[in-house]
Point group: C2
Chain length 463, copies 2
């Protein structure tokens, strides 16, 4: 009598294919049962560590044949539950697919396997004078960043993963490997499958190779530090800078609580006020001119002060607040954790959105701060919670939900860069309305058995 | 006995909805039977001129109910047969959907109906200091430009329609109106339907509204004129400029035949050589610095000469070759027509691609010239043909096909900006391989009855 379950059959097949690279130990499964979110963990039945597209295709084919879930896994830095295998099955960890396949400086592009991390690529690029620009903070895998349509501090100038992925290789849910896009910088041929897979969070296939854009490392960099009396004045200064055509490379916002926490942590005495940190890229003359143009604009918007520099040591000092922020925030209440919110709104609605988020925190029992990639209208709340206090968790969750509700009301989006995962599935229909039906049709057409990262985007939100 | 055909039923229904805005006259049908290509015309059964999304939804619903084709039509400037209704049915002309719905300067975006043309929008924007950047030459409709994923001279700096469409409203093939994207500059929520519809050439639905990005009109503009001994030196200079980080706003290539034709037409004496025309945008100081940086690079690549200016009158003179090009080319042999090729290759392969295209023309019985948006690796061939000579047409077609075959061999694409239409369906599988199967699954899922622009992308190429 054959008592093998579908998943045990898959494991047997994959053992013979992958040997030690198919892990069923508790420790490995446990490591892949959670992400950095607070969502309940769930164990995969096994974890596969393929090295090639052919192995990925074999894994997906085996799972497809037996109707077993496949959950792609990058660096595990997801914040919204993307990689939690809530239906079990095989977690496909891409960490051994970490080869930089090709760097083509003349074409300003690199071809990488999905497990390559952004820092790994940038180390490799150093000799070329080029950089991979997308910087979400964590040293995420580039495959994961593409799957989540990630971005970060430099996206105001260089774009998000949406703009920086030129082509993909993908194993589709029936085990077929396809190429999307090409090495040409633009194309008018066929449906844009590259952009369909970017941001699809592992629900339409497994990315096995990415062709990403590179950008010249700037000859010179200048930075500026600029506190304002109010959030509105800071945001209006950003709008004016962008409208004027200053190509700001980064413009980060820190609210007064964030500034106070860094003052305390790093023994600084920055004015406790809503503050903008600018970074400008270009030639020496051009980064000086940009810094001075921004100074004129910030001064006209009643900035409290404006300090800028192009000197490397001075730059690090002016931006110290941003660099120290994570640990400074953690240190506000020792032992507490950060619960993070993430929205993006039209920039015209940014000041009121930040102000409302601040008011919500002030009305709660929690401490919290707000930082933002404000050139894009994207900002994050960080609520400080006692990890052992369910009341705190509930309060933070409700505040993060209200943050999203307000963003949607002003024409924004439920996530600027952290993605849907499981945590934000409940907002999909509210944000996208009947477009969700179109997404579901696409999911059903490409993954009729529903094996790719089930319980996530594509099939669950309409329930 | 009911002898009404499906299409006559639709016409009857739409007559009562649209009145005079449902045309069945021969002259209107004839006007919608062709585009600017040489492909055989085909009459639609009727032409509808809706004004609102509700009317579009009613038209599509009626056609869906009776299985009648719907062919969206913008300004009619397609070059590859996109709008030819080869299965008859209803052509949906968006020219009365020409309302600029909203301009939001703070958000650097405009909301327009699909029939708004790019020039119309830019006239409206003048007071704001902002511009819509995509410039394909023709005064195309913005809906049509999105459907073809159009681009043009400024895309090296400001992007194609892919980068400049932020959100859409679309009537899907079952008559449902959906919204894709939002007014937020970035988002990590859901499948990227905006990019799926951009470039889908009317085969997945009808675009009824577009939210497009705007860019600041530069404070200053400088231009440069720079002939080179060889194509390779010109292209290498472009690569070096881009790698250096000079944000060229335009960089156009004209080969020696193009230069000679303008010399002849406009009584000029430009050196008959492969020539680059640069345009730089920024502040006065910055456009001067960019022009001088490019001069250093071009000189290092053995440029024959390099002239630049930021003066408006002088700028027009330096760029006269580009402005006069169309008519100068038409004047090479009076009465002859231009047959146009369009490919895009990785920029590292551009010099060899242009050189091969030139050799192919020289080996033919036709005259022809080559121009390109070379910062993107995109170039066009124009073959001069006697419109009454079938041998000429055949020779031009075969040359354009070889152009594409060579582009695909070096990792390029069959169309940089003109699209697939009908003319390039034959290259879809060669370029995209098994990804075509995924495209067909999407087409079948969204348009199971195959009513949207049948005989084009999504359903025909695998035959």
């Amino acid at each position: 009598m054959d008592i093998a379950t579908p998943v045990s059959k898959v494991i047997t097949e994959l053992k013979s294919l992958l040997g030690d690279r198919l892990a069923t130990s508790n420790s490995v499964r446990e490591h892949h049962s959670h992400d950095t979110s607070r969502l309940a963990p769930h164990l995969p039945d096994a974890v596969a560590f393929p090295r090639t597209e052919e192995e990925v295709a074999a894994i997906v084919s085996a799972c497809a044949a037996h109707g077993v879930p496949v959950v792609p896994f990058g660096a595990g830095s997801s914040m919204e539950g993307h990689t939690i295998p809530i239906r079990g099955g095989i977690t496909l960890d891409t960490r051994e697919m970490n080869r930089i396949v090709e760097i083509r400086p003349e074409d300003l592009l690199a071809v990488v396997q999905p497990g390559v991390t952004r820092k790994q690529l940038n180390v490799e690029l150093r000799e070329t004078g080029l950089m991979f620009s997308v910087d979400p903070g964590a040293d995420a895998s580039i495959g994961g960043m593409a799957s989540t349509r990630g971005s970060g501090t430099t996206s105001v100038r260089y774009g998000t993963m949406r703009e920086n992925v030129l082509a993909l290789r993908v194993v589709t849910p029936d085990g077929t490997a396809i190429q999307t896009g090409s090495r040409a910088r633009k194309s008018s041929t066929g449906y844009d499958l590259t952009h369909l897979f970017v941001g699809s969070e592992g629900t339409l296939g497994v990315i096995t190779e990415l062709t990403v854009r590179l950008h010249p490392i700037p000859e010179a960099v200048s930075v500026a530090f600029c506190p304002f009396p109010t959030v509105a004045q800071a945001v209006e200064a950003v709008i004016a800078c962008v409208q004027y055509g200053i190509p700001v490379a980064r413009v980060e916002f820190l609210d007064e609580v964030a500034i106070a926490s860094v003052n305390n942590y790093s023994k600084l005495d920055m004015p406790v006020a809503p503050t903008l940190l600018f970074e400008f890229h270009g030639t020496s003359a051009w980064v000086e001119e940009q810094a001075k143009l921004a100074e004129d604009i910030c001064t006209a918007h009643d900035a409290i002060s404006y300090r800028w520099t192009a000197d490397t040591d001075e730059r690090n000092k002016l931006w110290q607040a941003r660099h120290d922020l994570f640990w400074a925030t953690k240190a506000i209440i020792p032992g507490y954790d950060l619960y993070t919110g993430d929205i993006c709104v039209p920039i015209s609605r940014l000041a009121e959105s930040i102000t409302a988020a601040r008011a919500d925190i002030d009305a709660s029992s929690l401490k919290g701060q707000i930082i933002g990639h404000v050139g894009d209208g994207n900002f994050h709340t960080a609520y400080l919670i006692d990890p052992n206090n369910p009341v705190h968790l509930k309060e933070a969750e409700e505040m993060a939900d209200r943050l999203v509700e307000r963003a949607l009301k002003v024409g924004g989006t439920a996530s600027g860069e952290h993605g849907i995962g499981m945590a934000k599935l409940k907002f999909m229909r509210k944000e996208h309305g009947k477009a969700v039906d179109v997404m579901e049709k696409i999911k059903a057409a490409l993954d009729p058995k529903g094996i790719m990262n089930p319980g996530k985007m594509g099939s669950e939100w309409s329930a």
